[in-house]
Point group: C2
Chain length 297, copies 2
Amino acid sequence: MIWNSGWRLASAVSRAGGLGIIGSGSMYPEVLREHVRKCKAATALPFAVNIPMLYPDVDKHIATVIDEGVPIVFTSAGNPATWTGKLKDAGITVVHVTASVKFARKAEDAGVDAVVAEGFEAGGHNGREETTTMVLVPMVCDAVQVPVIAAGGIADGRAMLAAMALGAEAVQMGSRFVCSEESSGHPDFKQHVINSKEGDTILTLKELAPVRLMRNRFYEEVQQAYATCAGPEELRRVLGRARAKRGMFEGDLEQGELEIGQVGAALNDILPAGTIVTNVMEEFVEARRKLATLDIA
Amino acid sequence: MIWNSGWRLASAVSRAGGLGIIGSGSMYPEVLREHVRKCKAATALPFAVNIPMLYPDVDKHIATVIDEGVPIVFTSAGNPATWTGKLKDAGITVVHVTASVKFARKAEDAGVDAVVAEGFEAGGHNGREETTTMVLVPMVCDAVQVPVIAAGGIADGRAMLAAMALGAEAVQMGSRFVCSEESSGHPDFKQHVINSKEGDTILTLKELAPVRLMRNRFYEEVQQAYATCAGPEELRRVLGRARAKRGMFEGDLEQGELEIGQVGAALNDILPAGTIVTNVMEEFVEARRKLATLDIA
């Protein structure tokens, strides 16, 4: 959710009854502080900050969330043992995002309060095992005692219900909120997502860090590199710097890195974040009612 | 389910209240006829035959199911327009297996009675779009009027419930029945599946026909071919002939092609097929009861 989830989106989701999350991976330390302060000013309700632990200035982000009294932190892309203790000591609820049973167990051992089990269909950075939400969530639920939050492929109330059928206690939704009015993503990027169809995203750059993105000119260049049997160094050269900003924030649909989940293909509108939350809950109630009346067992 | 689903497995599933399916893709025409006759002798209940339409003698298989009065045929791996009319004229219920919305619509246009929407996590041959069950099933449900059967990642009652939450009216389970007593797969293959863990399968050979298989010595050779930038011809040479038989039927775990879904990592036992059906239904009922009592909306 880098370049998409700032204080506007996070506070709108929290005000609507969800838990808004500020994505700090694209923010300089002082920018994160500003977003946290604006989020606190916009809502008295709880919100969270996601911190990718591979972030170069991760210690500054950690200091910011502690200083500013952020109640909940989602850690991702790194070892949960590194920062969980410090965050917990500061009274922060810690949730770790994982794509495997192995790392879910590590996170539990590190003392996290909950884990996000995120499947292969999710947008952006992703696991090496390629395990999908349908397979991953029940395995993680069976492996850990802490609550499990399902992610990957969830953009409506039916999928939320499905995730809970698999044993999850909550869901984390990304792509659906990229296509919200409050997302700070470029309008052309949002429009491109709602125009997209199945097969338009692909998990690639597995030799560096697997990432799900939309096929475009930049991805064609990645493919050309693969076709000439490029190694990690050449791939890193093709990737270059600031591709994600260029694509998602600046709206360069051809040369930018456009991170979105497979479920982007199912999205058809850009809505206020609050409406998205309300819709999902209504769809959930309706889908559960239908499921209860199915005469099959 | 080639090399695994003959008359013993199909009749056991049908006797237990499921719809057993004979997988004809690994059978010579006279072998399929024998299996159909034995299945009819073993149960008066309905069963089905799956026919991959790329099968070289597909016309003979079609003739067999018509001659023998097989009530239901699942077609896969090919154009549903080619055989649906002929099968329907013979009074057969036709279900087409698809991995995309596009082909689900084509199948509906061809006059099929239902479609299977099979996700990326499924074992064996698979779609090019890599769409997972969680994303594919709701999209297919929204796109077609015929009933949708979910497949891919489904091996217990929780996943069956999840699939129905997504809008499916039934589920198709493969991997779980590979690990049944009645499966004709080699005992060493079944044992290898129940010993496996997350990440042990991979979707590969996309340049030929994408297939999900277990990582082993043969897969390492495929990887080596990729590392030297092999084209389709070289990949075809590495694949060679009869790999699937060698692996799944003859039990060569290193040089054979071992087709199984991601959910194989969650399987821990080899059970009678009837027990599997009973367990899944009990788990379904229990999971639905839990879901109904969740106080979240």
